[in-house]
């Protein structure tokens, strides 16, 4: 069930656009922000609010890579492993995550604290290796730094 706030927000979004289709993407963001992912129930609800068939809601949400269809942890780590970051040691960072938190790419920690996605270049090659935690950006990572940073996310 979407919260009252989310429903209200989606209603406001709907009014901004000429047709329901156009309001679909921003509406899905609202849901993902609230739940962390898009459950089938939430997709159905969005369809009902916007009067868009649920098949279309699902179709659109599976087309765009930024929408998640499985629950994720409270914090999403997006770690870059592309060329520059790889050269600067992102592999050892992956190992740390695995050893310390039992976290593998596309996985979630048992306590639901972290999820990990491996990224292709997040545009920080000059200060590689780099990652995003939720919407916070962190670069010049070392084995020590990454642990210190992550400890701030409970």
């Amino acid at each position: 069930m979407l919260s009252e706030n989310a429903v209200k927000e989606i209603g406001l979004i709907r009014n901004k656009y000429h047709d329901a289709q156009s309001s679909l993407l921003p509406a899905l963001y609202v849901v993902q922000k609230e739940h962390g992912w898009l459950s089938p129930e939430a997709l159905k609800e969005v369809g009902e609010i916007l009067n868009v068939p649920k098949a279309e809601v699902k179709g659109v949400s599976t087309f765009y890579a930024m929408f998640r269809h499985r629950p994720i942890g409270r914090h999403l780590i997006q770690l870059c492993t592309n060329v520059a970051c790889m050269i600067m040691g992102s592999e050892s960072l992956l190992n740390i995550l695995k050893e310390r938190y039992g976290l593998e790419p596309n996985g979630t920690t048992g306590d639901g604290r972290f999820s990990l996605v491996v990224m292709e270049c997040i545009g920080a090659c000059g200060t590689a290796p780099a990652m995003l935690v939720d919407t916070d950006f962190h670069d010049n990572l070392t084995e020590e730094r990454i642990v210190n940073i992550l400890e701030k996310y409970k």
């Binding site: 009067n51 098949a55 599976t62």
Partner: protein
């Protein structure tokens, strides 16, 4: 874009003309030039997904997709060059990477676009290798099977379903190679099963289950016929193998439907193969129907009719015609009755349906018959649909409302149910059941009080004062109480309706619908006249394949004879009844009363294709040919008279209805003078004229709002009845295909009401009205609001008509019921 601007361009060296706004592909097609294409569909917005339609434009380096590039004046286009052949070959190669190449067992083989194009342009081998798709086929849903492996992801099915059909049951789920056409969550497909997606699919990825593995396309012959179901009069293309119809398709551009069909037309043809068909004449002997020869049966009918005529006079004999039988059949029925029996007691079920519309329009415009205009919705700016599920009753015509809305017109739907049109509307007003008449009256009151009507045109129309007097009580406040919508909503609806532009009101009038009456149609006509609009801004279609034709061929009392109300609800009004192609015990309201009247007759003759309720209690049963077993003509709701051919052999000893009357007349020593279908056609040619030629005389007719039954403590809810999309009267339930979609009656109950009464989904509910009680399976749904339940009438054994009652004219036959978990 203005259509009338003509541009000129050159395609493959040929100068052609096209309308501005056309794409290159459309311009080419219009001029008979073929450009390969796989994702283009005339009915849909350009998509440009498959890239097979690429063409070269002189002066341009890159290739252009013809389906999504507008044609321009002076353009020089090439559609077949080595460069294009190479591009198309590559596209096909890429499509074939994942395609299973299981043509030998694919039902599409022989008429598959991919096969044909690969043959024309394609390589025999792909340079690319990758994993072939190997998803399981999905055959779990009724009617529609999906084979995702054969899918080329052109998206036509998805777009037809959403854009054109207004449903959106399926979509392209996922991205890249893994994309699949599927319902949202890979669940079993649950849609309206129109099959439009199947016809649209260029390959064998979607199929009709009833046709699965039944034939190869090259073993079949295809014929055009007219669909036997509703008043749209769609042309359906029937494929026959060894004398049997095995599939029906719509063919792009063919018929008034231009290739669209609904599920009834596409899958419902198999009713003619029902096990219930009557194969020989039968006479009741010692209380049992026993097979006899035609000779014995006709002799018997002749003698009994003569006896009754001798004893009580000809007016003791009556007949009921059929909206499903051809014009020829109905014409011969009334001719036989009038000339051989000598009675004018001839009528049909249309008395409670289309005849109400007829009567209303006659009062309002003084015309006898008002055909609908197929394209009327497409010419309107503002459409108001009052308590009518048009996409269920006349499904393909209903699509025009969706199209008009998609093209920018306003569609307002006033209905208690969340119908498909309501879902596709600009605004849906959920009014209380049966309150449409009051809503229309309320709109007129606002319009008159605000001086928004056409004063010039109405000044000459009689009865304006009576109209305003009649509207006095319909203040926004009063109408808000009746309809349950706000005063503001009523006022703003009236104002936007009165806003300059092309208006349209559409509603249906069918026996199965109990939320409208003659007065609803009168009110609609009053409103149109008030606004100074033409009569064709009020669109009321005739319901079935030949409702209009039956009416025009004289199946109704013409000189004071008894109508169907007298014959079926007034025991003793007639002593003998001849019923052709109708099962009054199921289709007519208050079924118990009808059955009692029929049982009290001295002679009941039923001439039909099925042995159903009425036939079982008849004294004589005569086997008639079904629609595909005889030649004949139908008149559709648009007034089109269309021939439909004999395609399959007669079942058993069945005979076309018209021929039975010809033969019976001969046995009774009368010759009706018409020995074959050509002679009948000649005889009726001048009798059937469409109502358009006559001059129109407008008048206002105050339409009161009369509810015949209200809710009470004992019966606190309203029961709404009507046709549902997958069925049509009591005929379609004999189609196994359609039965696989909806096979049983049900009662739609709002989830909150269900909770209140402890009713669970799919569990039985006892439904009671003053007249009787029935048990129905509950379907919990928010398509109906609290306080209202809905049931379809098609299913004989469910006996929903035990609850209902008839209304001939202005009264609304709303039914108050109580429900409880059984």
């Amino acid at each position: 874009m203005p259509k009338d601007i003509i541009i000129e361009l050159t395609i493959n060296g040929k100068n052609i003309k096209a309308e501005q706004g056309m794409t290159i592909l459309q311009a080419a097609q219009k001029n008979g030039i073929y450009i390969p294409n796989m994702c283009y569909d005339r009915r849909l917005k350009p998509y440009g997904g498959c890239r097979l339609c690429v063409v070269e434009l002189e002066g341009q380096k890159r290739l252009f997709a013809a389906c999504s590039t507008p044609a321009e004046d002076g353009m020089i286009v090439h559609t077949e060059t080595p460069k294009l052949a190479k591009a198309r070959k590559t596209v096909l190669e890429l499509l074939l990477v994942h395609h299973p190449l299981d043509c030998p067992i694919c039902d599409k083989a022989g008429e598959c676009d991919l096969q044909d194009l690969a043959f024309k342009y394609g390589p025999s081998q792909s340079r690319f290798t990758a994993e072939r798709k190997h998803d399981p086929e999905r055959v779990d849903a009724p009617i529609v099977e999906r084979n995702p492996n054969r899918c080329i992801l052109c998206g036509k099915c998805v777009r037809v379903c959403a854009e054109h059909q207004g449903v959106g049951a399926i979509n392209l789920i996922g991205r890249g190679f893994k994309t699949k056409v599927s319902p949202a969550f890979e669940e079993t497909l649950n849609c309206e099963f129109c099959g439009q997606c199947i016809d649209a699919c260029p390959v064998g990825a979607l199929g009709a289950k009833p046709y699965r593995f039944r034939s190869r396309v090259w073993y079949m012959d295809e014929y055009e016929a007219i669909c036997p179901y509703c008043g749209c009069g769609c042309t359906t293309n029937l494929s026959l193998r060894e004398g049997r119809i095995i599939r029906a398709r719509g063919k792009d551009g063919i018929g008034i439907n231009e290739g669209n069909l609904c599920g009834k037309g596409r899958f419902g043809f198999d009713y003619i193969y029902s096990e219930n068909r009557i194969t020989t004449p039968m006479i009741k002997k010692d209380g049992k129907l026993v097979p006899v020869s035609w000779e014995e049966a006709l002799q018997y009918v002749a003698k009994r009719l003569e006896d009754i005529k001798g004893k009580y006079g000809p007016s003791a004999i009556g007949a009921i015609g059929s909206q499903r039988c051809t014009i020829e059949d109905n014409y011969m029925l009334q001719k036989f009755m009038r000339e051989v029996v000598g009675t004018d007691n001839i009528d049909s079920v249309a008395r409670f349906g289309y005849a109400k519309a007829q009567k209303a329009l006659e009062k309002a415009y003084d015309v006898d018959f008002m055909p609908i205009k197929w394209k009327a919705p497409l010419n309107a700016d503002f459409m108001l649909v009052v308590e009518s599920d048009i996409t269920s009753t006349l499904p393909v015509w209903g699509l025009n409302f969706i199209k008009a809305k998609n093209d920018g017109a306003t569609l307002v739907v006033a209905d208690v149910k969340e119908t498909k049109l309501a879902r596709n509307s600009t605004q849906w007003l959920r009014i209380k059941p049966g309150s449409g008449t009051a809503l229309l009256n309320g709109m007129m009151k606002v319009i008159i009080d605000g001086g928004l009507y056409d004063k010039d045109k109405t000044s000459a129309v009689p009865n304006f004062d009576a109209l305003t007097a009649g509207l006095k009580e319909f203040t926004p406040q009063a109408v808000s109480n009746i309809t349950g919508i706000s005063e503001d909503a009523i006022i703003s609806l009236a104002r936007s309706y009165a806003y300059p532009g092309k208006r349209l009101i559409a509603l249906t009038s069918n026996i199965s619908e109990n939320t409208k009456s003659m007065n609803t149609i009168l009110a609609a006509a009053n409103l149109a006249i008030l606004m100074g609009d033409d009569p064709d801004t009020v669109q009321v279609p005739a319901e079935f394949s030949n409702t209009a034709g039956m009416w025009m061929s004289g199946v109704r009392p013409l000189s004071g004879g008894k109508d169907v109300y007298d014959m079926l609800y007034e025991p003793g009004a007639v002593k003998a009844l001849y019923i052709m192609g109708e099962n009054p015990i199921v289709t007519f309201q208050d079924a118990a009363r009808v059955e009692k009247t029929l049982k009290g007759l001295e002679l009941l003759i039923v001439q039909d294709i099925f042995l159903k309720e009425a036939a079982r209690i008849a004294d004589v049963v005569l086997p008639a040919c079904s629609w595909a077993e005889k030649e004949g003509t139908f008149m559709s709701a648009t007034g089109n008279i269309q021939k439909t051919p004999k395609l399959v052999a007669e079942t058993g000893q069945s005979v076309p209805d018209w021929k039975i009357f010809r033969n019976l007349a001969r046995v009774m020593n009368k010759d009706l003078g018409l020995k074959d279908i050509t002679a009948i056609r000649a005889a009726i040619a001048d009798m059937i004229v469409s109502g358009e030629t006559k001059d129109i005389r407008r008048s206002f007719n105050p339409a009161s709002y009369e509810v015949m039954e209200t809710v009470s403590e004992e019966y606190p809810m309203f029961l709404v009845t009507s046709n549902i999309l997958q069925h049509s009267g009591a005929l379609s339930v004999l189609s196994k295909n359609l039965d696989s979609v909806v096979s049983d009656a049900y009662l739609q109950v709002n989830t909150k009401d269900a909770k209140k009464h402890g009713i669970h989904d799919d569990a039985f509910v006892r439904v009671k009205s003053k007249r009787g009680e029935v048990y129905l399976k509950a379907m919990l749904s928010d398509e109906v609001p609290e306080g209202t339940v809905f049931a379809p009438l098609h299913f004989a054994h469910a006996k929903v008509n035990a609850l209902t009652y008839p209304s001939l004219n202005g009264g609304l036959p709303l039914v108050a019921v109580s429900i409880e978990a059984a």
